[in-house]
Amino acid sequence: MSLQISTRYRSALAGLLAMVALPAMAEDLQMWERSGGNAGMVDALVAAWNEKNPDRKINLTYIPHTDMVPKIAQAIASGEVPDLMGMDLIYGPQFEAAGQLVDITDKVKDWPELKTAVQGHMTVSTYEGRLYGVPLYADVSALFYNKDLFRKAGLDPEKPPTSLAEIREYADKITALGGDVKGYFLPGSCAGCNIFTVGPLMWASGATIEPRDANDEPLQGDGVKEVLQWARDMIKAGNVHEDARAETGETFHLRFGSGKIGMMGTGNFNITLAKEQNPSMDFGIALLPGVKSGQVSSFAGGDIVAIPMGSKRIDDAIDFMKFLLSDETQVEVYAKMLNMTTRGDMTENKYFQAEPKVQQVAKAIAVAETPYTLKFFELINSPQGPWLQMLQRAYYEDTDLDTIISEAKAQMKAIAAE
């Protein structure tokens, strides 16, 4: 009898445990990703994972881009974190330094894929020699130019500008076509758009922008002033649409496809978009130049995927990271969608070979930089930060540029020192 009861109890207990355990095993992984990023790419990656892993699907939630940092911070503070999250790569160092991401170094140290992963993403995923994330997707900036307008302006469509002086020269000719056509585009109220497209003009000219830490000097090099002077002159010469001043980033991605802009710095995402917007428009892609011919640079942006401290599915999250970097995902998901592969050794693939424009923009990866700072948002990305304030004063005021730069430096240093 006693054995019977005991067996019954054991069975009941086992049944109860099974009821509790089974749903837990079948539970989806929760992943957060910022909206306003490359949602189509992330959707496709998650769909590909879910197809291969029906027993541990990922449930993806998009968080408004501007709310992402506070939302993650609140989640961390309350302990209600997702199992993994995609985040704008520039915020990586801030969360790593605060000890809020899981150190994955020991779990991934033998992965050969990491050797060729996009350098900028890997740099911001590393803090004090430990790794906290891997690339989720990559965006690079480049100079897009409208070949139709080049032809109309008497320019050679196969010879894009190779210096800032040439951009100015070409822009003058394109603007002279009249109507609503302008030679260039500078987003006046968008900090992120400017670090993505104007930042590389400064880097290419040998300048630095953000302070890495409190001891680092921001805005170093003559390139800062030279680029600001060039931008001011471009605007004064009427080479930029008047409403560019109000561009907060809302319609930045739609500008080039309008067909009314001769040249502009934008990202690889604009290839597909411009084709959809304006199928008949003929356009080319070149690297963003510096002051002198031959100087080039780019901004490697995008997202990393990381595991927040408190995640209960670390091993599953690591498997997803491995999946992202696998050869098959690189080619059959990233490349197939004409997005940048997140491994440098995967750019030679059938999809890129069939689309020369992607091959062209992929060259930017080799020269791209990614800022590394613990306070990127406050320093650079914030519409209220010193970076955008400096640009707006340079673009639209007549104040002496040395004064503008030295005031921006002081603001950046004060933020870095906090």
Binding site: T66, D67, V69, P70, A73, Q74, I76, A77, Q94, F95, A98, Q100, G188, S189, E242, D243, R245, A246, E247, T248, F377, E378, S382, P383, Q384, L388, Q389, Q392, R393, Y396
Partner: protein
Amino acid sequence: MHSKTSSYVGLLYVAPALAFVLTFTVYPLAQMVWMSLHNWSLIAPKKYIGFGNFVKAWNDPQVWTSLEFTLKYTLFITPILMILGYLIALLTAENSPMRQFTRSVVFAPVVIGLGASSLLWYWLFSYDFGLINRALIDLGLITRPVVWFGADADISMWAVIVSIVWKVIGFGTILFVAAIHAIPGEIGEAAMVDGASYWQRVRAITLPLTAKTILLVTLVSVIGSLLAFDQFYIMTAGQPRNLTATSVFLIYLNSFPYLKLGYGAALSLILAGIILVCTFLQMLLSRRSHA
């Protein structure tokens, strides 16, 4: 003994309300004061810094810029809301079907969310696609589109004021109409018999007898304007160069995107103090005028 028991019973009666106030007002306020004395980020351990955040606010030029802009916005929008709202109330106070319908139309935007209406006006003021630029060009008032947001702080402010007047004017109007209806009809009739003109009756009868409502609407309007956030967050994003970043915008920015909760709390306390002073002054002035 009896009085002691009844005081306990009294305490019991007010206990729910007291608990509510303690939980949702006193405790958060105390927590905010505590927070303002710290360098407090959600992702890093907090650090006690005394009045450091208040000293920082005093020395922060953006705090003064935001405060100046917020006061300027309040000073401009409040008289517009009051005068226009009162005029509409006078025009529509009589209960004819057409006037009742007009009142409803004026009041309708009040029920729309501020976020939704701000977005609506953001696109109406759009440089390329906006109805406002198109209409002004077609009417021959301007020759080329105006960049309403992001170029000039004053132009941006006036564009926001137009949108907010449209959005909230109905609220004051309805209160004014109710106050006008509360005036006994015979007072106006007696004045008419004495030969008082319409504007004489408004000046000598309607305005004094609706003074309390005018004070209430002014108070609500001033506090609402000092706390302005949604409309500027959506329509101007503080641009150009933070010149349209209101005080609450600055608090939001520091507390959330910058994760400086301590500094944000200090700024909130400063703003709460300013609003308290404004309210007190307004009530004092009103009492004096009644005395």
